[in-house]
Structure formats: structure tokens, C-alpha cells
């Protein structure tokens, strides 16, 4: 039984700021732990000092001292969604280039670019994503002038000034058609560029940088050296089956590389190879059109087939404001569940699909067991939903990050409230807030 030391909410509010970490117990939850298992009813989640201390069946819960008991009356309780490979906080309006820091198209730097100083937790895209249950993300810098995009970071999406969790967690490089165009018009150029950069990274790491024989700036070479040593993961954007194989072969020459494949439209064609190499994948699962000659085999079954072959796959690479919004993660995961009913398609079980937007992306980001799961020791990133979180009709009713309840309001909710009715008989809309 739960021994809940209840304090009147008003008194509690007087004692704490709204953003203070809460010790709390959530009871009567339909619990999703995020580890791939299916939901379990009549469950309990305990958060203490911003961390999960228990998540499981009510029957095994024991007793806890707590300030707050939230009876969710059967609602779904999940870890926060982890958005892999996105650009939240780097722009307000993607098409307003003045404020868009997602790519540095005319910079003289490439690998050295670092998203950290550009991060803006007050971006509305962060707010609307948080309201959709997203609590953590990996933020990348998009390759533009160099095949290297720069150093990405792991962040939280809280309504506070500090979104940084881990700076310089990974490096981004694009190969395939995009990389070829950047590097000089051919895949031959992008692979030459990559080999040359890795050589320079090795030389600078061993103190043998020869400035006269260098194409990269000192800063870029240093960033590449962190990839060579395995300190930073290398996220490689690639789609065509042959390109995927070429990337996997890099491990033979550079064994310390921690590769992550991104996009991977034709991954299912080489799923066995990807699995054998132990390289994880981050992909938009809904790509099913031959957008280019490197995505001819694109299909919504891509994720299911790769997972079946043993590849660790995160749903991600959702970084826009149109048909690829980060907040579509739950919808897209739900689509993969729906594919199970389509003859000839390969989908995911519900538990697998949810893991693909929670624990799996967290593991790929290096935060396995910390984010994207509800289990002892994990961050208190908890979302309470008004229904099945993968269903179109559902939305979060409460979002906690590190045990702190988050604001779910945004520019959008304020507009909604202002225009709830159009009566201006007393004063114009401009006074309504």
C-alpha cells in the first residue's frame, strides 16, 4: 500500500516554485516503461528528487513517503518522448532565414560548428513539442558548405533557460547525393573529403598536423579527431543501399568510429549487414516515395524490416514544421503499429513502436537507462496522456521533466484561447489575453 503523506495543494504551492522538482507518486496508471514491453494497467510510478525510483505494478509497489499523489484513473503514463536528430531550439520559423541556425551555409567552418551557443529554449517549436510529450532531443547541425555539419548536442525541452544536457555529443556528416553535391559533384569527392578529413583528424590528435598539407582548419580537424577516437559518435546521413554498405566498411579502416546511420531509406535492403555491424539507425519511418534515385526502395516497412533483422532503430530525423514535425513521433510510431494489419507490410508491436521514440533513441544518444524509460535511476521525465499516446485523439495532460511539471502553453494555445469566440462588441481582440 502507498503511505502517502498528503499536503494540501495550496500549501504545497506556497512552499515551492512551480518548477521545483516534485516527489510524487502516480497511481492507477496504464504504465508504459518505454523498454519495448507492452502497457501494464494498475501501475505506479514513483518520482523522488527528480528521478524515477519505481515504475511497475501497484501490487509490488511497497510504500513511499511523498508530497503528492496523482491518481490518473487509468490514464496512460509514459516516459517522455526522445526526439532524435532534430533542430528544436535552432529556429523559430524555418523559412525566416534570419533566425534559422539549423545550417551554416556560408561558414568557413564545418566539423567545428557547435550547436550549443545557438540553442534557444524559448523557441515556440520547443514549446509545442513539449506539449506533445517530447522531453529530450538530440540536436544536429545540418551540413551545408562542408559534408560535416558540426557537433550536435543532447538537450531537454523544459520550460527553463538551460536546455543543454550534453554538448558535443556527436558529429554529423552527409554522404550520398547531398554529400556529393557539397563535396564537388560526385560521391567520389565526398568519400575523398571524408578520408582526407579523417587523416587530418588523426594527425592533429597525434600532434603531427602539417598546416601546409591541411584542408581543414585547426578547429575542424580537432572536431574530426574526436570522432576518430570514438569520443563523439559519427552520425552519417545516407540513403542508398550501396552507400550504406560503403559507410559500414568505414569501420574496417577506422575501428573506433561510433557510427549511427541516419535517414537510410533503403536500409531494409541491407538490414542484415547493418545488424551485423551493430550500427544503429535513426530514420523517418513514413518515407515511402522514391524522392531521389537513392531512395527508390523507400517503404514504410523499412523500420519493421530492419528491427526484425536485429537493427536498433529509432524513429527520428523529424526536424521541420510541415509533414516532418518532431511532434509527429507518436503518430508515426502508431502508423508502424497499424502496418501489422497490412498484408505484406512489416510493422512494429505497440511496445516496440513506443520504444522507437523513447528508450531506443535515448540509447543511441548515449543515455540508455537515463532517458526514454521509466525505471529506477532514470530521469523523472514522465508524461500523463488522456489516451493511448500513439493514437491521433490523444495528447499529454501533464508533462514532467526531471520531476518538474512543465508548462504546456505556447503561442498556439494563447491564440486558441484568444480566438475561442469572435465577439468584438466590447473591445477588439487585441485586448483579449
Amino acid at each position: 500500500m502507498i503511505r502517502a503523506a498528503l499536503i494540501a495543494p495550496a500549501a504545497l504551492l506556497a512552499l515551492t516554485t512551480p518548477a521545483a522538482a516534485q516527489d510524487m507518486v502516480i497511481i492507477n496508471a496504464t504504465l508504459v516503461t518505454g523498454d519495448g514491453s507492452e502497457p501494464v494497467e494498475n501501475s505506479v510510478v514513483v518520482v523522488d528528487d527528480g528521478k524515477i525510483t519505481y515504475a511497475g505494478p501497484q501490487a509490488n509497489a511497497g510504500s513511499f513517503d511523498t508530497n503528492i499523489v496523482i491518481d490518473v484513473q487509468g490514464k496512460w503514463v509514459t516516459p517522455g518522448i526522445f526526439s532524435s536528430m532534430t533542430s528544436l531550439g535552432l529556429w523559430d520559423v524555418s523559412g525566416v532565414s534570419e533566425g534559422n541556425d539549423a545550417a551554416a551555409g556560408t561558414s568557413r567552418f564545418g566539423a567545428a560548428l557547435d550547436v550549443v551557443p545557438a540553442l534557444n529554449p524559448a523557441s515556440q517549436r520547443v514549446a509545442v513539442s513539449r506539449a506533445a510529450g517530447l522531453t529530450r532531443a538530440s540536436i544536429y547541425s545540418s551540413p551545408a558548405k562542408s559534408i560535416f555539419g558540426g557537433q550536435g548536442a543532447i538537450v531537454d525541452l523544459g520550460d527553463d533557460p538551460d536546455m543543454l544536457v550534453q554538448p558535443r555529443a556527436f558529429q554529423m556528416v552527409t554522404l550520398g547525393e547531398r554529400g556529393a553535391r557539397i563535396a564537388g559533384g560526385s560521391r567520389t569527392a565526398s568519400f575523398a573529403e571524408l578520408a582526407s578529413a579523417l587523416r587530418e583528424g588523426r594527425e592533429i590528435a597525434s600532434g603531427r598536423r602539417n598546416a601546409e598539407d591541411s584542408h581543414l582548419s585547426r578547429e575542424d580537424a580537432q572536431a574530426v579527431s574526436a570522432v576518430l577516437s570514438g569520443e563523439h559518435a559519427l552520425y552519417v546521413s545516407v540513403n542508398r543501399a550501396s552507400d550504406i554498405r560503403a559507410v559500414l566498411r568505414l569501420k574496417q579502416s577506422y575501428p573506433k568510429l561510433r557510427l549511427v546511420l541516419v535517414e537510410v531509406a533503403e536500409g531494409w535492403l541491407v538490414a542484415e549487414d547493418i545488424a551485423a555491424a551493430g550500427v544503429p539507425v535513426i530514420t523517418n519511418p513514413m518515407s515511402d516515395l522514391p524522392d531521389s534515385f537513392e531512395a527508390l526502395a523507400a517503404t514504410q516497412s523499412n523500420v519493421g524490416r530492419m528491427v526484425k533483422a536485429g537493427v536498433k532503430v529509432a524513429i527520428g530525423a523529424l526536424d521541420g514544421a510541415t509533414d516532418n514535425q518532431p511532434r509527429y513521433a507518436t503518430q508515426f510510431a502508431g502508423n508502424l503499429v497499424g502496418l501489422q494489419k497490412v498484408p505484406g507490410a512489416t510493422g512494429l508491436s505497440w511496445g516496440q513502436a513506443f520504444a522507437a521514440i523513447s528508450s531506443v533513441p535515448a540509447e543511441i544518444a548515449g543515455f540508455g537507462g537515463k532517458f526514454g524509460v521509466l525505471k529506477p535511476g532514470a530521469a523523472g521525465d514522465v508524461v500523463i496522456w488522456d489516451g493511448d499516446p500513439l493514437e491521433l485523439s490523444s495528447a499529454p495532460v501533464k508533462v514532467f521533466i526531471d520531476g518538474r511539471e512543465q508548462s504546456l502553453s505556447s503561442h498556439q494555445t494563447r491564440l486558441r484561447d484568444r480566438y475561442r469566440n469572435l465577439d468584438e462588441s466590447q473591445l477588439p481582440m487585441g485586448y483579449r489575453r
Binding site: 520559423v93 517503404t299 486558441r416
Partner: protein, 461 residues
Amino acid sequence: MALKIARTLALAGGVLALAACTADGDTTGVKSASATAAPQVTDTPYPSTYSPYPGVPTALVGATVYDGAGGVIPGGTVLFADGKVEAVGLNLPTTGYQVIDGTGKFVTPGIIDVHSHLGDYPTPSVPAHSDGNEATDPTTPEVWAEHSVWPQDPGFSRALANGGVTALQILPGSANLMGGRSATLKNVPSRTVQGMKFPGAPYGMKMACGENPKRVYGGKGRMPSTRMGNFAVNRQTWLDAHAYLAEENPDRDLAKETLAGVLKGEILVHNHCYRADEMALVMDMAKEMGYRVTAFHHAVEAYKIGDLLRENDVCSAIWADWSGFKMESYDGIPENAALLQKAGACVIIHSDNANGIQRLNQEAAKAQAAGKRMGIDIADAEVIRWLTLNAAKAMGVDAMTGSLETGKMADLVLWNGDPLSVYSRPEKVWIDGALMFDSSDPKHRPVSDFELGQPGEGDVK
């Protein structure tokens, strides 16, 4: 298209001098045509060659039937034969029909997308395929989208199989104030665009407000470079069209013929317009110039003027929840559709997107849910209307399709579950009573020429 504009290659300058010929504005007959060189003038050039494919009399029994007009029949029966809906009701006799058990499943009219660029921005999305914006002049009412549509665009089959789309309007892009005529198509595989053209559908004309035209032409150092410039060019163009209409025997002028068609109410205006204040101005421009706006497309701020839109009887074709991709989309909110519905205005969920067209049902469901969370309850059957009858109405084909009513085209989808659930997909799709997609039969999954012999050919996609 929201973003994909101005990708056309710069054309060599110069306009082909047309051989002299004259025709009256309504193109009902040739007047003073020269004996040898005059082009044929017909009511319907490039006429539809589509005719329904064979079907068998079919009874869908036991499914939840949404009729597209706001009605629902749990456990209903839908009978269709000879390409037409014969009856929709409860416990109808099915003797003589192939009976398909729909227990636990759902039937809707075929999904209709009022805003697509399939065929004119086909995949693969290479520059050689960029045929949606004649971005060489701010007003190009003379271009016809059907002359750009590539029927082998693999996107058509995705829209059919994953989205249950049976009819769609292909619009020119939004680089121009007046982008040209739309093409309304049946979503059937075809060797030619004529084989897809929806028989009897009126033309639409694409117009665009706001950022795109002023950016494209301002960037070229020419008018319009501002919103006021947009209006000035539009108004003068309408005045010129009126002058053309007033001429007794004008020379043929393709641009003016389209504009005259609008002024006579034969061609429907589909106006890309994001901001509420601009939509209000456009509705006044339409009054000033004597035409009607059928629908505002991408109307992300429509919720701010639901009353005006209702009073002017203009539909809003919208995404469920796109916002923040360009300045004029910044105030988009997921409650847009629900607020419009509450105001009594016409709502259409559109795609403008080769991915979105595969899940218009899901977009509608999200818009419905956003409304519910703010206390606006909209019945499922009403929501289905947003992507069926309302779209048909805006395309001028609602007398023929868009709802399951006796005598209408048997365009329908059997869903394997609730179409407003993320877990549901089309199981079978009929167009004019012919089975055009069957999820359990690979032989009823069309494959475009482009995909033959390539990786993934015939896959479930």
C-alpha cells in the same frame, strides 16, 4: 506547394507569336477562323478519355458506414453496381451482389484531396520534374496543370493504397498570383493525363496571396515585391479580363480565356492564402471584380475570421497542424478546423504534400481531437465530410462524388478499422465501382512505369 517554389529553370525569354485566330470568350464555336491554319476551338480540348473500369455488383455488409454527408450507419449495407451507388441503408437485400463482410470495418466515400501537386511535382524530385510553377510571370492564367502532370508519378499509387484517395485536384504552384488552371483527376493509373481527367469536372484557377509571389518576383526586381503590389497586379489583370470579355470578337488569348471563365462562374478560384487579413482583402477584391473565391488553401489563420468565411461561403482548405515554416504560417494552430466548424464555415483537410495525401484521414482526426480538447465536439461523421463531400464541393464535383448517395459514383473505401484511428488503413478502394486497390492482392496494387525493374517494385510501400 508551400515551400517548393521557384525551382523552375529560367526560360529563354520571348513569347511565341501565336498564329492569328479569333474566338469568342466562351469558346463555343469558331468565328472567322482561317481556312487552313486556325487551331480547333472546342469546348473541351484535351478531353477526358477516362471511363470506368469493369466492376461487379457488390454489397458491403456490416461495416460502419460514413456517408460523407455527415451521416453514419452502424452495421450498414452499401450496394453498388455499374459504377454507381445503388443504395445505402440497413439490412438491404443483397441477392445478386458479391457480398463483402465488413463487420468491424468502416466504409467511407473515396477520399478527395483538393490540393495536390502529384504529377506536376512528381517523384523523383529532380529539377527535370519541377513542372508546377511557371515562375516567369506573376500572372499565368494561361497555363494548365494538366499539361505538366506526369501520370507515372509513383505518388498516385501511394495516395490510393495508403490514403484511399479516389479523386484529387492538381494545382499549379504558388509562385504566381495567378498560377493557372487546375486539373481534377480520378486517381486511376493511366498512360495519359486524359485517361485520368475527371469527366465533367470544372476547371479551377490557382491564385496565391502573400509571401510567395512577392518574394519570387521581388527577387527578380520586378512587380510585385510587396503585398500591395500583389493586389495591384491582380486588380489590373481582372480589369483587363473584363475589357476582354466586353470585346465582341476578341483574338484568342489563353490567359484571358481562363479569367473570363472565372468571371462567368465556370472556373472555380482556389486561392492559396495564409493570413486572415489578406483573406478578408481578397474576398473584397472578388466582390470588386465580380468573381467568387471557392476556397482559401493553406488558410492557417482562417480561425480568426470564421464568421467572414461563413458569410462569404468560402471554404478553408487546411492542414491539421502545420505552422512556423514561413512567416505567414506562424499563427497556425491545431484547433483551426474545429473553430471554423464551430463558426459554421466550410472545412476541408488538404495535403499539398505527397506524404500528407497518404493520411488525410489521420490529419482530420488530429484536427478533431484538438477541437475536442477545447470543448468543441465534432462527430466522426462530420469529420469525414472534411475530406470527402466538402472537398468535392470545392472542386465542383459534389453532384457526382464525395458522398454515398444513390446514383453517385461508386468511389469508396473499405477501411480495416476506424479511419480516424492511427491504426487503420484502406483495405479495398473502388473507383466508379471498379476495384482499384486490394491490400490482400498484389495484383490489385498499381505500380508505375518508373518503378518497374527497380528496387522495391511492387512493395507494399
